[in-house]
């Protein structure tokens, strides 16, 4: 009998279907890996399992969840805990100033009588029994073979140990049936990851079902018994790990129909280099770049792909000087000044940020001001003389904005509508119009289609192709591999802050999958 069974799970957010008839089952004592790209639906599935409020407030889900064969309807994380489902979080949910034993027993402390509680007969007045709590914590740590003292404060522990404290907390709970590990190895070194996986095996031997979410393929092969692969919210396959291999998993994870949009011209392999980047380090929180070397050819669309958090977003932000950057960038034969946004803009590079609402727009300003402002600041356009003063030229701004609204098909009430009132797709077009107004030779576009509907997506991509055909070199960073493959000339895959490899759109799904998972060079012997 399966300890956990999720059957025909479907979920939509406001008409946007994120899960379609997904099935997942975990046997007692089994390590079951859940594999998928960002946005494949892993998190949503876990949110359903834990009864997170985001699911309830958006209309619940379809399908059935059973624990030990009993259908259950989990509506709160607290209930999930009572049902015996535990979770080891990716970001540590520990209190740094508390000891390990205090963290393990937090809110479930064992208590003993004291004078006040004896008189009031109120268990809430009882004193915490430190020794018994520590004993429990010790037992949990011993189960994991961790020799560390249970009275140590969490704050000084290495990252690898913190993860174990989290696990100890979960296994200390009585009646634990299923333990979910949410990308636990993402923050660990290789040897720490090995330790962790050994601990997982040990727990599985005690009969606990383990659900292991990851995108590291070799880890799946190393420790999982079975693996379920999700893609675009759909169940793709469930396999015994003995019957499969890294290449097949990569293919299953990435594979999908790719529609390559027609491009009139191909960029020759020996075209001039417009920008060359060497040893680029960008300290962007969550998207650190750790030494990228790259050459961009004049007139191409270069795609940058990779999984979230691996550093692909950091490259464009680094070129723009928005985060502390080291290394060297040569643009059109000249050295580009790093960490100086103004001089990057001055040299003819424009940027459409991945954070549309946070960085890309002045939400409380009109569309026309949004479009004109960067050019006004950088190139001194849209200004007119009025006596001794130089003022913004309202007419010129209006005229240009109207032209852009037509060209990019921005659906709005008029050029003086506030940009925050536009839909995501139209906001993206405003961002693009602003960048194009600078008439750059090199355009950096990050996540141009994130959170916008299909129709707008196509318009944005078509516009990029059109700009490219007019001679603009484009570097597009995107989490959507299909979209990168549909318009790019070459695609760079970034993993752990470095370039894993460069592929062409026609290359196989397996190659893309292996590169994104960071196992390409291991499997294919580093040859490209």
């Amino acid at each position: 009998m399966n300890v956990l069974e999720m059957k025909d799970i479907s979920k939509d957010y406001f008409g946007n279907r994120v899960l379609k008839n997904v099935n997942l089952s975990v046997k007692p004592g089994e390590i079951h890996a859940l594999l998928g790209e960002n946005g494949a639906g892993k998190s949503t599935l876990m949110n359903i399992l834990f009864g997170m409020s985001v699911i309830q407030t958006t209309g619940g889900f379809e399908g059935e969840v059973s624990i030990n064969g009993q259908p259950t309807n989990i509506v709160s994380p607290h209930q999930a805990m009572d049902e015996g489902i535990g979770m080891v979080h990716q970001e540590f949910m520990l209190i740094p100033g508390f000891t390990i034993s205090e963290n393990v027993k937090l809110n479930r402390e064992l208590t003993k009588h004291n004078l006040v509680s004896a008189v009031t007969r109120n268990p809430r007045m009882e004193t915490i029994d430190i020794a018994r709590n520590a004993k429990d914590a010790r037992a949990a740590l011993d189960k994991l073979d961790i020799g560390i003292d249970e009275y140590t404060r969490v704050s000084g522990l290495p990252v690898g140990y913190m993860q174990f404290v989290e696990i100890a907390r979960e296994i200390d709970k009585t009646g634990l049936k299923v333990l979910v590990f949410d990308e636990p190895t993402a923050v660990l070194t290789e040897s720490e990851a090995l330790n962790l996986m050994d601990a997982m095996k040990k727990l599985a031997n005690e009969g606990i079902g383990i659900l292991f979410i990851t995108h590291r393929l070799d880890e799946v092969i190393y420790c999982a018994d079975r693996v379920t692969i999700l893609r675009d919210g759909e169940w793709v396959a469930t396999k015994e790990t003995d019957d499969t291999n890294v290449v097949e998993l990569a293919e299953l994870m990435v594979g999908r129909k790719v529609e390559i949009l027609p491009k009139d011209k191909k960029v020759a392999e020996d075209a001039d280099i417009i920008m060359s980047i060497s040893d680029l380090h960008v300290n962007m929180p969550g998207e650190t770049v750790k030494g990228v070397d790259l050459e961009i050819r004049k007139g191409e669309i270069l795609g940058i792909g990779g999984l979230a958090g691996q550093g692909k977003i950091g490259i464009a932000n680094g070129i723009m000087g928005l985060y502390p950057t080291t290394g060297s960038i040569t643009y059109k034969g000249k050295t580009l000044k790093l960490n100086d946004t103004k001089s990057t803009l001055d040299s003819g590079i424009a940027f459409v940020s991945e954070d549309r609402r946070g960085i890309g727009l002045l939400l409380d300003s009109s569309i026309e001001d949004n479009i004109a402002i960067t050019s006004m600041q950088v190139k001194g356009q849209f200004l007119k003389k009025a006596g001794p003063f130089t003022l913004r030229d309202k007419e010129a701004i209006r005229e240009h904005a109207n032209q852009m609204i037509e060209e990019f098909d921005i659906r709005c009430l008029g050029p003086n509508q506030f940009s925050k009132r536009l839909s995501g797709g139209n906001q993206q077009k405003v961002c693009l119009a602003r960048a194009v107004t600078l008439a750059p030779d090199l355009l950096l576009v990050s996540e141009p289609t994130r959170g916008i509907d299909i129709g707008a997506k196509k318009l944005v991509l078509d516009n990029l192709i059109k700009l490219n055909e007019e001679g603009m070199t484009i570097i597009m960073t995107s989490s959507e591999l299909a979209e990168l493959r549909s318009i790019s000339d070459r695609i760079v895959i970034v993993n752990e802050g470095k370039v894993e490899g460069i592929l062409h759109p026609e290359d196989s799904d397996a190659d893309f999958g292996l590169m994104m998972a960071g196992t390409y060079n291991k499997v294919r012997g580093g040859a490209k």
């Binding site: 946004t341 954070d355 946070g358 960085i359 727009l361 009025a386």
Partner: protein
């Protein structure tokens, strides 16, 4: 019609709507109580002109993203220094000494305002996100510090220092310098002689002239302080020009979204610094206009709470802690100051106990500020 009223009463406009309705109500009550409406209106205009530039000083600070300038007293102290220097060094025997005195005071105010504003801006750039509270206490400390300075600064003019002992006086009359200069410039006054009951219309005449010619029993029934209003409007226009320049647009972008500004190659800290300096300089000039209308300059603790009235005025005008326009200044300064002028006689008539109108002023001022600040908090929590 109802929708129209609803839209007038929404969001940032709510305080403006409430205060407007309340002000109209006060005027009606004043009329019923047979208060002289003409006098009240005239006094409202005088207070409008006196306080206008202080309210205007909020605009660059809000637009640059540092919030309403609660550190306005810092600029005010700069203006006071300018006025003291003008009084010390411009002799009253000089040709056109009043105008020269005013201009020297303004030049001094710009100098000290810029220096203080620069220092104060450096501080605000280091405490992004908590500008308003820090500005308030910076101003309080600075005013306290200047209390020592007023005692020890080596001014010699007999009109300014205590007859015995050391230091500058608490209030210094400007009767013999440029007090009332702008109020009276091109002004219109309707004067009634109580003794004879006759009315008289005077153009461009000072209060001194009225007393000397018609006797002290004459009273002003209605007045338009044309010079002062014109001066205020001139400054509004200058600020309007600035915020529509390239630098001004950059400053507004910084206030709206600093990250956006940065990615457009705008120097965020420099823009904020500029906004703070401009606000401080306007505060310095503002206190000169205020003092010449009032007839006295007030030192020591007087500047301490002057920011609050200005902040309340612009908020009533429809501004928020993040958005402000010149129109908010024009409307807010009038509503707030008229409210204070009209509420005084009405409150005194209704509750003879006295002091109530000042309580009322405090409630309005702090109430409106509280409303605006609570809204800032609400937004970040949402």
């Amino acid at each position: 019609m109802i929708d129209k009223i609803k839209s007038l009463a929404q969001g940032d406009n709510l305080p403006r709507f409430v205060i407007t309705v309340f002000l109209l109500l006060l005027f009606v009550i004043a009329a019923i109580l047979k208060q002289p409406i003409g006098v009240l209106l005239g006094d409202s205009l005088v207070r409008y002109g006196m306080n206008g530039i202080l309210v205007l000083a909020m605009v660059p600070a809000i637009q640059a993203g540092t919030g309403p300038n609660f550190g306005l007293p810092i600029g005010i102290v700069g203006g006071l220094l300018g006025m003291l220097i003008s009084m010390e060094f411009v002799p009253q025997t000089m040709f056109m000494h009043q105008w020269v005195g005013l201009i020297v005071a303004i030049i001094g105010a710009i100098f000290f305002g810029a220096v203080f504003g620069w220092l104060y801006g450096q501080l605000l750039n280091r405490v992004k996100g908590s500008e308003m509270v820090i500005a308030t206490y910076t101003a309080f400390s600075f005013v306290a510090l200047m209390c020592i300075a007023w005692l020890v600064l080596p001014f010699k003019n007999r009109a300014m220092i205590w007859p015995i002992g050391k230091g500058l006086k608490n209030t210094i009359t400007m009767e013999n310098t440029y007090g009332g200069l702008l109020n009276d410039f091109l002004s219109f006054k309707l004067v009634e002689n109580h003794a004879t009951g006759s009315h008289m219309f005077l153009f461009n005449k000072t209060g001194q002239y009225i007393t000397d010619t018609y006797g002290i029993e004459s009273a002003i029934k209605f007045q338009i302080p044309t010079g002062m209003i014109l001066f205020f409007l001139l400054f509004c226009y200058l600020v309007y020009l600035f915020i529509n320049s390239r630098t001004g647009v950059a400053m507004r972008a910084v206030g709206d979204n600093p990250k956006f500004a940065e990615s457009s190659g705008i120097n965020v800290n420099r823009s904020r610094l500029l906004g703070v300096i401009l606000s401080t300089v306007l505060g310095a000039i503002g206190i000169i206009i205020y003092s010449q209308g009032f007839g006295y300059m007030q030192l020591y603790n007087a500047p301490q709470t002057m920011a609050f009235g200005a902040v309340a005025a612009i908020l009533i005008g429809g501004a928020s802690a993040q958005k402000a326009k010149i129109s908010h200044v024009l409307i807010g300064a009038f509503l707030f100051n008229s409210l204070l002028v009209v509420s005084l006689p009405v409150a005194n008539e209704l509750v003879p106990a006295g002091g109530l109108s000042d309580v009322f002023r405090v409630i309005t001022t702090y109430g409106v500020i509280l409303y605006a600040l609570a809204k800032v908090g609400g937004k970040t929590n949402a």
